[in-house]
Amino acid sequence: MAKRAAPEVNAGSMADIAFLLLIFFLVTTTMEKDSGINRKLPPIEESDEDVIIKQKNIFTVLLNGKDQLLVEDEIMELKDIRAAAIEFLDNGGGTDNDGNSCDYCQGKRNPSSSDHPDKAIISLKNDRETSYAAYISVQNELVGAYNELRNRRALQLGPQRGFADMSYIEMTKNAKDVNWPGNKEKLKEVIDQIKKEYPQKLSEVQ
C-alpha cells in the first residue's frame, strides 16, 4: 500500500487568532503623548540680597482662586493677555544694562513701560485654589508671547544669515533634527542670538 501523505494542517483559523490578538493590542494601545511646557525652577538660594527692579520693568499677572486674571492692576480676559505681554516685552522704552537701546523692538517706546526685553520680567502669582487648567492656560499664553516675538525676530534675522522663511520654532526643530541638511553650527548661533535678544524671564512668586 502506498504511503499516505500527512494531511495538511488547516490554517483557516489562523486569521481569526491573529485578529483576536490584533484587537487586543488595538484596544490596549495608548499612544503616549509626552510633550508639554518646559520650565526651569529657580534654585534655592540662601542669600537674602534683594535685587532692586524698577516697577515699570515688571509685568505682574495675578491669578486668583476663582481663575480670574489681574494683569497690571486691570482685570483681563485670557485671550488678551498674550497681546498685552507682547506689548510690554517689545516696548523698548529705555536701554539695557550696557546702555544699548533696543533697535529691534517694534513697540511704542513708552517710557513708563519696560526699558528693554533684557530687563523686562513677567511675574506670575497664583493662589492655592487656582485650578491647574487655568494656570497652564496662562503659562501657555505667556510662552506664546515670547515665541511670537522670537518668531518675528527669526524672520528678520534669518534671511541675513541664510535661513530664509524659517520661524524660531522651525529653527529649534531643525537644530534638533538629525536629518536636517543645513549648517547646524550657524543655525545654533542664530538661535542663541534670538534667545539673548528676547530672554524668557518669567518669575513665579511663591
Binding site: M14, L22, L26, T29, T30, S35, N126, E129, Y132
Partner: protein
Amino acid sequence: MSKFKKKKGGEIPAVNTASLPDIVFMLLFFFMVATVMRENTLMIENQLPSADQIEKLEKKNLVMYIYVGKPSSNYRAKYGTEARIQLGDKLAEVGDVQAFIASERATKREEEIPYLTTSLRVDKEANMGIVGDIKQELRKANALKLNYTTTQGDVSNN
C-alpha cells in the same frame, strides 16, 4: 472519451484568503511595536490640560513622572476625593517627593543625572496648591528641570 474534463458551470471561484493572516499579522506587529505598556498603573484620574506652545520631551529614559489627581472611583472609599500625588505605582504625600527623586537618581548613571527631567502630569481639575508644594519639594531636591505635560490643543478647551 475525453482527456480533459470540461469544467463544471461558470461559477466564480472563491477569493483566495490565504494571505489574510499575513496582512493581519503585519498590522498586529505594528501595534505590538507601537504599544507602550504603561509603567505605572494609575490610581488617580489624569485628564491633562491642553496647550499649544509645547515642546517634545526627549530621552524618555531620563524622565521622572509625577502624577497628580483625584483618586479614581474604586479608590475613593479608601483615599477620599481630594487630589493626591502618585509616585511610581502608589499614592504618596508631598514629603515623599524628595525620596522619590533620590531613588530615581540612584537608578541612573551619574553623568545622566543633570539631564533628568521631571514630568508633572497633573489633572486639569487639581488645585495649584498641591502643584506649588511639589515644585517647592523639587527645588529642595535640586531637580530643577520641569515639564508641565499637556496635550496638544487650544487653551480654550481647558
